[in-house]
Symmetry: C2
Subunit: 212 residues, 2 copies
DNA sequence: CCCGAACCTGAGCAAGCGCTTAGGGGTGGT
DNA sequence: ACCACCCCTAAGCGCTTGCTCAGGTTCGGG
């Protein structure tokens, strides 16, 4: 209940992008990148969507690539935060894994425009920026692997190949950004629930999540 | 055991592309599109990789988009053929599902450069070409859904949400094209095996595939 | 020896790209 | 009233893009 600055602004989607004009440009860029891809998007298109002239973009961002970098970084941090929050809860490994997948998938479905940019425009980034982002992604991997590992250790899960299953779980979640459509028949909550259940099956959890 | 024309040339990767120079250009385009994406690839780059001048490209293909279309079409047909072949075998639904996933995943891993173009450059296609390709993709969906549906009907599988699970299974397989790396530690066969097992768990198959 | 077809190249066009620069106009402090 | 400051635009620069076209090379048949 404080001011504008927080670790992760939950209220407004891009709250931490401080000059209001810069935020409008960034939001426009997210839409454009998600629709047509980074390389197919022109700076004129971005500026146009934000209701500004092409030159206005370069007052707030040094290059077009910097725009992508800021989107990618904030997006990854948000996704990682969502994952971490659920992973750090109390409960069995199954509960934590289901919670993590549910939230992570819900995030990818709700914010699927952002997620599409974040997940699929990674190698449009420059060398330095890409390695920075890749480091963030490895942390997501570590979080999921840890939960699965703990589940195996405690005898909750039956997983022959922990790294492989971790990869598959994350892959499944991430790909939601590709196919999810807001006009589709499934809500983000429904997809999250479905996927949490599927992942528990993948790890051979002894107790299905929602028992009814 | 006949001449050059077959439903799907299994021998040479792009055997059906008939003028030899056109095939060289097409292969170069697959590599370039997979590495940098369709929009970031220039016609000069494609021609250069094929050892020709930029103008040579336009003798064999009307536009850059036609190149992508031919790649996408042939690629989708191959992938669908692989899926169909396994789906039409004799055996239990579990055996057929495992076989289909194993082959489909192996295809995406082995031909991951092609697959990457095929799966992720879909909306770089023009309106007409895209709808044509989307129709092919729906057939893949139908194949998987049929197997899962039959498994449920015969009491082999326990699947509360058949369309949703179908979606997840295909999503999992397709995303292999994104992360698979030839220098990585897993072979296409290993990934196929792992994924076949994971999918059988997802559908709650009563008999695990490889019983040892 | 020449012909015509198949194939490819050098040079280049119009358009569009990312980005820069000079300057205009509104706002708040004093 | 005035100035410093921020924010934005019109115009355009240098370059690259997808694509074109006139012309050259190669080769089998007469």
């Amino acid at each position: 209940m404080s001011a504008a600055e927080e670790t992760t602004g939950e209220d407004t989607p891009w709250g931490e992008v401080t000059p209001e004009a810069a935020r409008r440009l960034l939001v426009a860029a997210v839409d454009a990148f998600a629709e047509r891809g980074y390389h197919a998007t022109t700076t004129r298109d971005i500026a146009g969507r934000a209701g500004m002239s092409p030159a206005a973009l370069y007052i707030h961002f040094k290059t077009k690539e910097e725009l992508l970098h800021r989107i990618s970084k904030i997006g990854h941090e948000r996704a990682l935060y969502v994952l971490d929050t659920e992973a750090d809860r109390d409960g069995t490994a199954a509960e934590r894994l289901a919670g993590a997948v549910r939230s992570f998938v819900r995030w990818h479905a709700e914010r699927h425009t952002t997620a599409r940019v974040v997940q699929y425009e990674l190698d449009a980034l420059g060398e330095e920026h890409r390695t920075e982002i890749v480091a963030l992604r490895r942390r997501s991997d570590a979080v999921v692997r840890r939960i699965i590992g703990e589940g195996v250790r405690d005898g909750e899960f039956d997983v022959p190949d922990v790294p492989g299953t971790t990869l598959a779980v994350l892959s499944l979640c991430i790909d939601v950004a590709r196919w999810f459509n807001a006009q589709g028949s499934r809500t983000p909550d429904e997809v999250g629930e479905l996927y949490a259940d599927l992942v528990l099956r993948m790890v051979g959890a002894r107790t299905p999540s929602g028992q009814k």
